[in-house]
Amino acid sequence: MMNAIRSNPEIADKSGAEALGAAGRFPQSPPSHYYESQTRRIWRRFLRHRLAVAGGGAVILLLLMAILADIVAPHDPLALDTRRRFIPPFTDPTFIFGTDEMGRDLLSRLFHGGRISLVVGIAAMFATVVTGLIIGLISGFYGGKVDNVLMRFTDTMLCFPQVFLLLVLAAFITPTVVSIALIIGLTSWMEVARIIRAQVQYIKEQDFVQAAFALGASGARIMSKELLPNAIAPVMVSATLNVANAVLMESYISFLGYGIQPPLASWGNMLTNAQSYFDLAPWLAILPGIMITLTVMSFNFLGDGLRDALDPRLRM
């Protein structure tokens, strides 16, 4: 026990063990976690990852922007005025980021477009996680033939290039925020299903689940009360990275004209016409793209940091 205190300078500090002189003596030794709760430990590891913290901060800002778009946007994003088309950025104080080909305020459109892109991204993430959870849980829990069929289905889905599938599906349906989110979710759940399945296969053999079996718990109960809560943590990383991918996918299909339909703005469809006005108004192509990149990057860094913080292999 004493070793546990000594080997962890941070904890030694707090427990007053510094008087032992231990903290300074073993600065290189790996921290032991006997006195630290799991949440704290994960949090501490996450905070060490500076880019992840920056990503997390940026995600919070982006979410605020999406929630408060109505309040922070200086203009109506749909208000047309052909007398003030193509005002360049930083020239007119009322239109800080300039205006587009229909005289709409670009800053307001970026805020509102961001709201749409993020809503699609997050909704698609939920669709992905829920689908992946169901398939992974059933596959891992029942095993055998069910597992075989579901996993071959998962492998098959992985063979299709996602953008191709998305575009075909998008051509079949009426594109709305919900339907776009759903088709993104339905074409990207495979990784989550595999993670959950592996988790469930491992957890199923643990004593507490075996005990539940012995007590005669039903399959549904074991899945929802024993397996699900314990399998969900690794999905957090995948979910975060999935938001990044979903935002990207939404921008791809909206850019190609099969996603969110104008006049409703999304970052993707704001770029659709930008190529035609390259010479006249390059900012129309630059700014939405920067927003997409920043958003995707923030979620990617956040996910990366979460992975480092949660990865059980690093805990050894």
Binding site: M157, L167, L248
Partner: protein, 317 residues
């Protein structure tokens, strides 16, 4: 070895069947189903539709329909296009060379640069270069391919005027190799960006796993040069997971090529797909989805076989 290849082929068969079932299901999910072209035509009556259904066997049980359809796919009868009535397979296959040229050059560029960055990062772990490379890879992975394409056109074609902004050849010019290469540069770089990021990340971690093993230390203590250790000792062991990576990347490569071709007006399969989408050419769309999925299965198969050829451990599993 032979056994391994047979086994691996056996595993690909259920995938092919799965792909065909999903393709068939999507064909029936399409608005108007397989007869969309007729139902959309006002001069055709309901009786006509019934008759056509009978002629095409669409009034038969679904599994019989599937088997007939799968047989058609297998024998190269992929149906005809709505507009022009040309065989779908021909229409798609004539676009394959342009796409494969773009995908091949993008992948080669990505492998060369990505591996160099990854190896350097692994050798000089935690150096400034390594830090910049890993962070840079993360940033590159976050770039929307189409936007990166737009930006390269804006800078290198419009502002600097160094390279053409699109197409495969200069219109009305001589269609020679040099012209093709200058048109190939921007799309290749755009397609390669995300792949470079992935290759550098995977190469780095793969080399890190290898270069701390005992036999590398032995090689070092024998006094071998660093280059020789990396190339002759570390490389063969680090490279096999990377060959698998090339297979796994294929779906993304097709998606990326689609976006890149659209931006640059490159006359390949992706461009064909987007055009077919505007014209609601469902047979072409379905054919493309199927052909890309089959290419992915075959690509993964090939990667595994190559891996088994160079790495005896895999064969013995």
């Amino acid at each position: 070895m032979f056994q391994y290849i047979i086994k691996r082929f056996g595993q690909a068969v259920p995938l092919l069947i799965g792909v065909s079932i999903i393709g068939f299901a999507m064909m029936h999910l399409a608005p108007g189903g397989p007869l969309a072209v007729y139902t959309l035509n006002p001069t055709i009556t309901a009786q006509d539709i019934e008759r056509i259904k009978h002629v095409f066997g669409l009034d038969q049980p679904i599994h019989i329909q599937y088997l007939k359809w799968a047989y058609g796919m297998f024998t190269g009868n992929w149906g005809n296009t709505f507009f022009g009535g040309r065989p779908v397979l021909d229409v798609i296959l004539e676009r394959v060379p342009a796409t494969f040229l773009l995908m091949g050059s993008g992948m080669s560029l990505a492998i060369i640069i990505g591996m160099l960055i990854g190896i350097l990062g692994a050798v000089k772990r935690y150096s400034i270069f390594d830090y910049l490379a890993t962070t840079g890879a993360m940033v590159a992975l976050s770039f929307p391919t189409f936007w990166f394409g737009l930006m390269t056109i804006f800078i290198f074609a419009l502002k600097l005027g160094w390279l053409p902004s699109g197409g495969m050849y200069t219109l009305g010019g001589e269609e020679d190799l040099l012209d093709l290469l200058t048109h190939l540069i921007l799309p290749t770089v755009v397609l390669a960006l995300v792949l470079v990021a992935q290759w550098s990340r995977y190469t780095r971690s793969s080399f890190l796993e290898v270069i701390h093993q005992d036999y590398i230390r032995t090689a070092k203590s024998k006094g071998l040069s660093r280059g020789r250790i990396l190339l002759r000792h570390a490389f063969p062991n680090a490279v096999s997971p990377l060959i698998a990576l090339a297979g796994v990347q294929l779906p993304w490569l097709f998606s990326g090529a689609l976006v890149t071709e659209t931006i640059f007006g490159w006359p390949g399969m992706g461009r064909l797909f987007v055009d077919a989408l505007t014209m609601k050419e469902y047979p072409v769309l379905m054919g493309m989805v199927m052909i890309t999925a089959i290419a992915v299965i075959l690509g993964n198969l090939l990667a595994d076989v190559i891996n088994a050829l160079i790495d005896p451990r895999i064969r013995l599993e």
